[in-house]
């Protein structure tokens, strides 16, 4: 009974979304206050209804109601409560509902935050958000009903996919969805700006924070996915250019480009067409990514249960692509740039180069992801595009991007004078060059020397900016160093938070270079008591330790790690295999990991003889990997600093918007 109500709630939400959409579009066009208000109310109501539907599915999962097909397929009695809770996004129908839940949440938040501002834009924004919600509600109603009942009441469920029974895998989709779905908000604002013809900087200023926060979640989600792949899949890597990974990476690339290019529009009034195009592409790539992961058109390790959502997605994508293009072409005359770029050594020129690079990487990645599929259709042969293609094409582009990331903040708007150039670039260039030469002499390796030199250069520019900022504050106000840092973040969070994000990216790039060029690995079978040498370690196998858990048995192989030269004991690790009761053919692996700031010892247990008299391992030494996760934290911290509302800034924004409402602003 209650599950029929759940289904009815979804239908009601869809009907309300249709109403709210009409109210928004029509109310915005007619400048009708009542209709505009209705669109707000519809956004709130849809969010409420979807939360209720999600609560019902959660209830079914937590109380083991296996008559619901979704619960039967993705849960079991013995599943720990935590995973029962997360099973909501463990399968197709549930994750679509979860997606809709976040989307309607973002819609309500955007509506609430702007309930007294941007009255010309908001009805359209609400309408676009509701339109997207409507699409997902239709999917749930017609193609993937999470409340479908089985024809009998099963005793127990089938269990959650063992690969998903991992903390990272519980968090990773949540972060990704928060990022993915959140990017609908800036797109909605762009459409609102185009429809309302308010194409000045109003929407761009508002949208910055609404892009930064989803961007942060998306970055964190991608990194958590890497962490999961690293810890759980056990192939020693963190990124495989798998179609589904690319699906999350593509909108990240265009969103990053967008975050940079809107700065140029704000400061200089140029790149207006480019900005709306970028956010449209981002939104399209989000929907495309969702489509490809759920329709089975691409082969991937991330196989979702298939269902019939594909055709719905196609129709929706056609609407997004051609509806937006029609609107854009219609509004082109209003999107004139106010100025032209004056010099190649200006910051706006650097931003342009940044955008071209991001667009290039995005295009190469898109091409590599879809080429196998298209070639199979057209020629019948499946040509697989693997990691080497992506690394070869994207590697150099990323290198340029890091150099640019270091250089751009040092350039002035319009143009940079020669003295300023010298003052800004001398030290970072020297440090970068010294690092490159040192790496080259030490390891006789060209590519990593260039890569690490670029990283050192970029890091040095950031440090230089911080040092100058802190010094300036100490001279003017005599603050202590920590207080000066704090004030830099508080008063100029956009700039200094941005530098932190850049530093995070540099750290991640360093880890990637270390792993790409200096990884060592070996495959060995060891008898109990035997040992092997890898890098500067000696690793000894000392026996198998089985351990019964709630819904699986855990087999761990104890390994002792010694320093190869001194013979000192460095610690012990326990790579494991989990054999799940429900899906014994699909054992999962937990790697044994010893993390240090310099390198990780990373061991996968592949198999063992009865009783553990011998065991087979794949062992890796992964240099600098920990800096990827540290870089991720720095990146998140930096984004928070950059988007934290500053009291003074908020006042001035409010004043501007009041002035705008009164009509005295230069419109």
């Amino acid at each position: 009974m209650i599950f029929h109500i759940g289904y009815l709630i979804l239908i009601t939400a869809a009907v309300l979304a249709v109403f709210g959409m009409i109210a928004g579009f029509w109310g915005g066009r007619q400048r009708n206050v009542k209709l505009a208000l209705s669109s707000y109310h519809a956004v709130y109501a849809v969010a409420g209804l979807v939360s209720l539907a999600a609560a019902i599915l959660w209830y079914a999962l937590l109380t083991d109601r296996f008559e619901v097909a979704y619960v039967w397929n993705h849960s079991e009695r013995a599943l720990p409560v935590f995973y029962k809770f997360s099973a909501l996004w463990g399968g197709q129908a549930g994750s679509l509902l979860f997606w809709l839940l976040i989307l309607s949440g973002f819609g309500a938040a955007a509506a609430f935050a702007n309930r007294r501002r941007h009255w010309a834009l908001m009805p359209y924004v609400n309408a676009v958000m509701l339109g997207t919600s409507l699409f997902f509600a239709i999917l749930l109603i017609f193609a993937a009903n999470p409340f479908r009942l089985a024809s009998f009441v099963p005793q127990d469920g089938q269990g959650l996919n063992p690969l998903l029974q991992n903390y990272w895998m519980v968090l990773h989709p949540v972060m990704l969805y928060l990022g993915y779905v959140g990017l609908a908000v800036p797109f909605a604002f762009a459409v609102g700006a185009l429809l309302s013809k308010r194409l000045d900087n109003e929407w761009v200023r508002t949208v910055r924070r609404w892009t930064l926060i989803p961007w942060m979640f998306l970055s964190a989600g991608i990194l958590m996915g890497s962490q999961w792949a690293y810890m759980e899949l056990g192939w020693g890597g963190y990124w495989a250019w798998d179609p589904v990974e690319n699906a999350s990476f593509l909108p990240w690339l265009t969103a990053t480009a967008f975050l940079h290019s809107i700065v140029v529009q704000e400061q200089r009034g140029i790149l207006k067409v480019w900005n709306v195009t970028l956010i449209w592409m981002t939104y399209f790539l989000v929907i495309l990514g969702t489509f490809t992961t759920r329709s089975g058109v691409l082969e991937s390790v991330h196989s979702f249960a298939r269902s019939d959502v594909g055709p719905f997605f196609l129709v929706f994508m056609v609407i997004i692509l051609f509806g937006f293009l029609w609107l854009l072409f219609k509004r082109l005359p209003l999107l004139r740039d106010e100025q032209a770029i004056e010099s190649y050594t200006s910051r706006e020129a650097a931003f342009m180069a940044n955008n071209w690079l991001f667009a290039g990487i995005a295009f190469a990645t898109l091409w590599g992801t879809f080429f196998p599929m298209f070639s199979e259709i057209l020629t019948g042969d499946r040509i697989s595009v693997a990691a080497p293609f992506f690394n070869k094409v994207n590697g150099p582009l990323f290198l340029l991007l890091i150099l640019l990331m270091g250089a751009a903040p040092l350039l002035g708007w319009r143009r940079t004078s020669r003295q300023a150039f010298r003052k800004q670039f001398t030290w970072p260039t020297l440090i970068g060059a010294a690092t490159g030469v040192a790496i080259w002499l030490l390891y006789d390796a060209g590519y990593p020397a260039i890569g690490l030199a670029a990283c050192a250069f970029a890091a040095a520019t950031i440090v230089q900016e911080y040092v100058r900022g802190v010094q300036a504050r100490r001279i003017t106000s005599g603050e202590s160093i920590p207080a000066a840092m704090g004030n830099l973040w508080r008063r100029n969070g956009r700039r200094y938070g941005g530098y932190l994000v850049h530093l995070g990216i540099v750290l991640i790039a360093t880890a990637v270079i270390g792993n790409e060029f200096f990884q060592q690995n070996t495959n060995v079978t060891l008898a109990n008591g035997e040992s092997v040498t890898l890098g500067r370690y000696e690793i000894a196998y000392t026996g198998l330790e089985p351990n019964r858990k709630v819904n699986h048995i855990e087999y761990g192989a104890r390994l002792m790690i010694f320093d190869q030269k001194s013979g000192k004991t460095l610690g012990s690790i326990l790579p494991r295999r989990n054999i799940y009761d429900k899906t014994p053919e699909q054992p999962t692996s937990e790697v044994g990991l010893r993390m240090t700031l310099l390198e990780d010892v990373y061991v996968v247990l592949n198999g063992w003889e009865t009783g553990g008299s011998t065991a087979t391992f794949t062992m890796y030494v992964n240099p600098l990997t920990i800096w990827m996760w540290i870089g991720g934290l720095v990146l998140v911290l930096g984004t928070l600093v950059a988007s934290w509302p500053h009291p003074g800034r908020r006042r001035s924004e409010a004043a501007a918007s009041i002035a705008y409402a009164v009509g005295s602003a230069g419109d």
Partner: protein
């Protein structure tokens, strides 16, 4: 982006709808054309995927498996006979409710041109063999390696049973156990050659 700025420089009045010069029209057409091509290829691919993967409602997807006794059986070789394909697993409790009924039906029908096949879904061989011994199952049974058949048939879980007629069409799909003898008889009647 160069082309976009061209568009702008050629529009005299900001309020007028974009007057399209020759080049602009060409550029837009190329841009839209690429997107149309992309969507068409996606649609094609989707249709292709669905054709091969969702045949479960029409023709029975082909599969080959090796029984626990080592005999290799292919669905194609069974043309002209009715086939009952049952997906099961030793850890599946509802499967136990139908096991005896399936075996009875098989003993009754094997001379009437109906073949029963059991495909063991995500299981361990010792447990599966014990299960077969427990119910005295005599019709061909084997593991569905890599869940290949399960995926082709798009099963929702176990048990799930497909009734295939002599023309190779899926006539009935039963999700969950068949516990009713009359129901079994009705389905068998539909596929008896």
């Amino acid at each position: 982006m160069a082309d976009l700025s061209d568009i702008r420089s050629e529009t005299p009045d900001a309020q007028a709808p974009a007057p399209a010069s020759g080049m602009v029209v060409v550029w837009r057409a190329i841009f839209v054309g690429i997107l149309v091509l992309f969507v068409v290829l996606l649609a094609w691919r989707l249709w292709d995927t669905n054709k091969s993967e969702h045949r479960a409602s029409g023709m029975a997807p082909p599969f080959t498996f090796t029984t626990f006794e080592g005999e290799t059986i292919s669905l194609d070789d069974l043309q002209g006979q009715g086939v009952v394909v049952n997906f099961w697993a030793s850890w599946c409790d509802p499967c136990r409710d139908e096991a005896a009924l399936l075996e009875q039906a098989w003993r009754r029908e094997k001379d009437n041109g109906i073949v029963f096949i059991g495909l063991d879904y995500l299981d361990q061989e010792p447990a599966a063999k014990a299960y077969l011994a427990e119910f005295g199952v005599t019709y061909p049974n084997g593991p569905d390696l890599r869940s290949e058949a399960a995926r082709r048939y798009g099963i929702k879980g176990v048990p799930e049973t497909f009734f295939i007629n002599s023309a190779g069409e899926i006539v009935q799909t039963v999700i969950g156990p068949i516990v009713n003898e009359a129901q079994m008889e009705a389905y068998l009647a539909e596929i008896r050659p």
